[in-house]
């Protein structure tokens, strides 16, 4: 996991760096050179990770549970899928990057955020004095665009789809922001009021994108579309006609019940699911049926004893005085029915194909 992220973020740096030196797309951030990117890179990495963590949370009770392989956003992986889940991963990652950059910007981590208003063309000085600065969100959005979109170097339908979903992720952050106002006119009246947008907690962005995931649009482009210039035009046209808030995908999702090593998901065997509980949502309550029952697996009940804190006395920020309580909890897992079917189906078939004849 750790190694993986490391690689992830160096890929980011390298790609971004290559962009800055090769394509002369004039841009404030690029003009400051690759050094500027190093300031952002740790935030970008943290943002991408928060995106993936949110993905894992959102899909904890789905058949596809955002496995590690989902991290690979780059075009390098030869087996790029273009399904609903890929769309979500792209959106949540770019949202996470934007979110973290925006947050760290308001911490004062970067020297040029907020006031890097492209309209004023100047930082700090006159522009800030005259009209204030654009919001930190604009900054987060711009840098996120630089970093995450830089991974899509291709010009095919898949690249267009990924770019679209990245944008949808960033729009989700903007869309979930909350507006707050303060009145400060004469005698505190509302003759003058100032409003601002407050970043929501990231969970809300996740919830929003999960909604969008369920309503993702399928674009039928793969069939018959070559790589000619004409079809490229068609691709851009198709994508620009879809609202930038929506997620799009090109392929249908595979059956996530079964293990598939080439695509990198482990199947639902051995997964935990939820059954009973007062406060569970409908989606969560049906998770055992979805994960086990509909995948031809049985549900196994396991009892476990846990030690948890209780009767706590809490003092902000960090002191908690608790007693320890033991209680038994029941957990549910998906297991094979009878214990022979699974292996024959998934693991065995591949080996059979590669079976080697020994002749002497």
């Amino acid at each position: 996991m750790f190694m993986h992220l490391e690689v992830f973020y160096y890929v980011f740096i390298l790609l971004a760096h290559m962009r800055s030196c090769c394509c002369w797309s004039v841009n404030n951030f690029l003009m400051t050179g690759p050094k500027a990117y190093l300031i952002y890179s740790s935030s970008v990495a943290a943002g991408a990770q928060s995106g993936i963590e949110e993905c894992k949370y959102q899909f904890a009770w789905d058949r596809w549970n955002c496995p590690e392989r989902a991290l690979q956003l780059s075009t390098h992986s030869s087996l790029r899928s273009a399904n609903r889940e890929t769309a979500f991963v792209h959106a949540i990652s770019s949202a996470g990057v934007m979110y973290t950059l925006t947050r760290n910007c308001s911490l004062g981590d970067f020297d040029n955020c907020g006031c890097d208003d492209s309209r004023n063309g100047q930082r700090g000085g006159h522009g800030w004095l005259w009209g204030g600065c654009s919001d930190n969100v604009g900054f987060g959005e711009a840098i996120s665009k630089q970093f995450v979109d830089a991974l899509e170097t291709g010009q095919d339908a898949r690249a267009a789809m990924n770019l679209h979903n990245n944008e949808a992720g960033r729009k989700a952050v903007k869309g979930t922001m909350q507006r707050t106002c303060k009145c400060h006119g004469v005698s505190g009246s509302c003759t003058t009021q100032t409003c601002w947008l407050q970043l929501p907690e990231f969970r809300e962005v996740g919830n929003y994108l999960k909604e969008k995931y369920h309503r993702a649009l399928k674009v039928d482009l793969l069939r018959g579309a070559g790589n000619s210039a004409a079809s490229r035009g068609a691709v851009t046209e198709t994508f620009s006609s879809i609202s930038r808030k929506e997620l799009v995908h090109l392929e249908d999702s595979p059956d996530y019940c079964l293990e598939n090593r080439t695509l990198g998901f482990p199947g639902t065997e051995g997964r935990e699911c939820l059954k009973k509980g007062k406060s569970l949502s409908k989606w969560e309550k049906r998770s055992c049926k979805r994960l086990c029952g509909e995948c031809g697996l049985a549900v196994e009940e396991r009892k476990a004893e846990t030690v948890s804190s209780c009767n706590c006395k809490f003092h902000w920020c960090c002191a908690v005085k608790c007693e320890q309580c033991r209680k038994t909890v029941t957990k549910y897992f998906c297991v094979k029915r009878g214990g022979q079917r699974g292996r024959n189906e998934s693991g065995g078939s591949r080996r059979k194909n590669l079976r080697l004849r020994k002749k002497h």
């Binding site: 004095l129 009209g131 902000w316 960090c318």
Partner: protein
């Protein structure tokens, strides 16, 4: 040639490849078809043989993947040792080809940079990253400054190009009079309660934790944590042009079953603000105070274990109000002291956001310029008006005095004393502005009452303010209540900018009472004003019916009065309606209106427009109601001109410049009769 692919027994090497190989090795020899078939079969068999052997060797060595070494070993064990050197060469070749292919697929080659160069760049980048990390603590600050200057120049040149390139899909709020900037407070560690100011960034940054989940944070006591926010963000500085600065706090409080926010909880903050004018000098403490604020939070989701970690939605907490921005850098340090009685049940505070609000420098410039332009005009008009009144033989009547008061209050509102706030650190500027505005409103309200009263045309004498004691009393009472309220909030801010009337229960109740009372008196005032206007219209209706029966001169008088009243009524209503409409739209439309694709920025334009409109209103009143000097020259007697110069008076009356005296004369005479 159907080498059917369904059955894996039929899987063979492509015949074409074998043919080609045969042709290459033996170009001049013809080979029969069945011989070719045999060669193919032999090849296949050979491959099967080698693979089986390699598979076996692989299995023996407990590996799952057949590696080249296994194949070489298989060759040896099957007695093909002579091939091994050649095989090794081929393997090497294979590896390089595969590597190249992988590189090619990653599109690095398309970039036009040789691979070695890229590798070197990557290494360099990594090295730089490491180096930078090491240097960061000491040198970041200087680098930032330099980079900022360079970037500023670069950005200036780039801005034009970027403007064309970037798609401006979102509407930026550009043209608003005030701006709010969010600062996320850094959590600094201050273990021994040392005195001194903690900076979130810069050369002497404090020791800090990113989150309270860090192991380091677990060793901390709540009293060791100081939330620090530096206003403004790096690379910017505050300016006196900002006029005032407000700060509002927003808390990120996570829901925990064992640590929920209690009802009606009060948060206690030990807050301080410091300032300095350059980046190197010490922070100078400005104010320090321990403040208590009510914390009002709601949780949008059910309070269950599953929802632990979700954030409460908390109302923004008013924090600070500075009447002047006389320094370049401000530092807020905030502690949440905890003991058994203080700050218990405030939930798990994760973060504190400070929202800084100040007026835009650009708006201040426009505003002060407008005032500078308007003030000599209104001042001149007022002086001219009083001069005209002084030329007359009779003493000024109440309406004229009212107009004068309106002119004077408008002048005082226009007086651009804000210029001085740029040079002096006067914190009472906000208060003064409020008082000036209050004075103008009071004068305007009184003028309306007097104006309506003068047009009632009932036969009572009204040439004194006591005739309107009821309405004027309401205005004076309401405005003085508001003044007291304003003094109790903004007045106290002079001494303690952290103070808030709303923080305590009693304060809240008292200020609510003040506002309620003021609201009631304003409502009563408007009710009675409406009542007066209604009576005026009724009287006008009565007079209209009598008009044909009147003598010519009197008819003209009344016509003039009616016309003038209707004209001013219309103008006033239009102004008031415009103000109200713009105000409501301003509140509702979030600062810009969408007309199709066209987005209109209105905030600043709205404020300056309304201000200009009322200036024009006052100017018009003063100008139109000034007594005519012609009248002064031609007539100084009481009744002499009434019958003698009807045609010239009609002209003047329609212009409305002589009304008050005429009204008084007529109503006065009628009363005497």
């Amino acid at each position: 040639m159907a080498s059917s692919s369904g059955n894996d027994d039929d899987l063979t090497i492509p015949r074409a490849a074998i043919n080609k190989m045969i042709k290459e090795t033996l170009p001049n020899v013809r080979v029969a078809n069945d011989a070719r078939e045999l060669v193919v079969n032999c090849c296949t068999e050979f491959i099967h043989l080698i693979s089986s052997e390699a598979n076996e060797i692989c299995n023996k060595s407990d590996k799952k993947t057949i590696s080249p070494e296994h194949v070489i070993n298989a060759l040896e064990s099957l007695g093909f040792a002579s091939y091994i050197t050649e095989v090794k060469d081929v393997l090497q070749e294979c590896k390089t080809v595969a590597l190249k292919r992988r590189k090619a697929s990653s599109r690095l080659e398309n970039l036009g940079i040789p691979e070695e160069e890229l590798l070197r760049q990557q290494q360099e980048l990594f090295a730089k990253a490491r180096q930078q990390q090491a240097e960061l603590a000491q040198q970041e600050w200087l680098q930032m400054q330099q980079a900022a200057q360079q970037a500023q120049m670069a950005a200036a040149s780039a801005s034009a190009a970027q403007q064309a390139g970037s798609s401006q899909d979102e509407d930026e709020e550009d043209d608003i009079p005030t701006i709010a900037i969010r600062y996320l407070a850094t959590k600094c560690i201050n273990r021994h309660r040392a005195r001194g100011w903690l900076t979130p960034w810069g050369p002497n940054r404090c020791q800090q934790v990113k989150t309270f989940d860090e192991p380091l944070a677990k060793t901390l006591d709540a009293n060791d944590i100081v939330f620090a926010a530096h206003l403004p963000l790096p690379n910017a500085e505050m300016s006196p042009w900002f006029q005032y600065m407000l700060a509002v706090l927003q808390f990120d409080i996570a829901f925990k079953m064992i640590n929920q926010i209690e009802d009606d909880v009060v948060i206690t903050m030990d807050a301080g603000i410091a300032c300095r004018d350059d980046l190197k000098s010490e922070w100078a403490a400005k104010f320090h105070s321990v403040e208590r604020r009510p914390l009002r939070c709601t949780l949008a989701v059910p309070k269950t274990y599953e929802n632990e970690g979700r954030f409460y939605h908390c109302d923004p907490v008013p924090f600070l109000e500075l009447g002047t921005v006389a320094h370049k850098y401000f530092l807020i340090n905030l502690r949440l002291p905890v003991n058994d009685t203080v700050n218990v049940g405030i939930g798990e505070i994760k973060d504190i956001h400070v929202v800084g609000i100040h007026q835009n420098g650009g708006f201040t410039k426009v505003w002060i310029s407008i005032k500078t332009v308007f003030s000599p005009w209104i001042l001149g008009a007022t002086a001219w008006f009083w001069h005209r009144i002084g030329l007359m033989t009779r003493p000024p009547v109440l309406l004229e005095k009212g107009i004068l008061a309106l002119g004077v209050s408008m002048t005082s509102l226009n007086l651009p004393v804000e210029w001085l706030s740029l040079g002096f650190e006067w914190t009472w500027m906000l208060l003064l502005e409020d008082v000036r505005q209050g004075l103008f409103y009071s004068a305007l309200f009184c003028f309306w009452v007097v104006f309506c009263g003068e047009h009632l045309m009932d036969q009572s004498r009204r040439n004194r303010l006591s005739a309107y004691w009821w309405q004027v009393g309401l205005v004076v009472f309401g405005s003085s209540v508001l003044l007291v309220f304003d003094l109790s909030e903004r007045g106290v801010h002079l001494a303690n900018p952290f103070y808030s009337v709303w923080a305590s229960d009693i304060g809240t109740r008292v200020s609510m009472t003040f506002i309620f009372v003021a609201g009631i008196s304003v409502c009563l005032y408007f009710l009675s004003l409406c009542h007066m206007v209604r009576r005026v219209f009724r009287n006008i209706g009565g007079k209209r019916q009598q008009l044909p029966a009147m003598p010519e001169a009197r008819r003209l008088h009344y016509k003039g009065i009616i016309f003038r009243f209707k004209f001013l009524m219309l103008v006033t209503l239009a102004c008031a309606a415009m103000t109200v409409i713009f105000f409501i739209l301003n509140q509702v439309s979030e600062g810009h209106w969408h007309w199709g694709d066209y987005t209109l920025q209105v905030h600043s334009a709205f404020l300056t427009g309304i201000y200009g409109m009322w200036n024009l209103y006052v100017f018009t009143i003063i100008f139109l109601y000034a007594p005519s000097h012609k009248h002064h020259k031609s007539a100084d007697g009481q009744h002499a001109d009434v019958a003698q110069m009807p045609e010239s008076r009609e002209m003047r009356l329609t212009r409305g410049d002589q009304g008050p005296t005429e009204t008084y004369r007529i109503t006065g005479k009628r009363a005497e009769e």
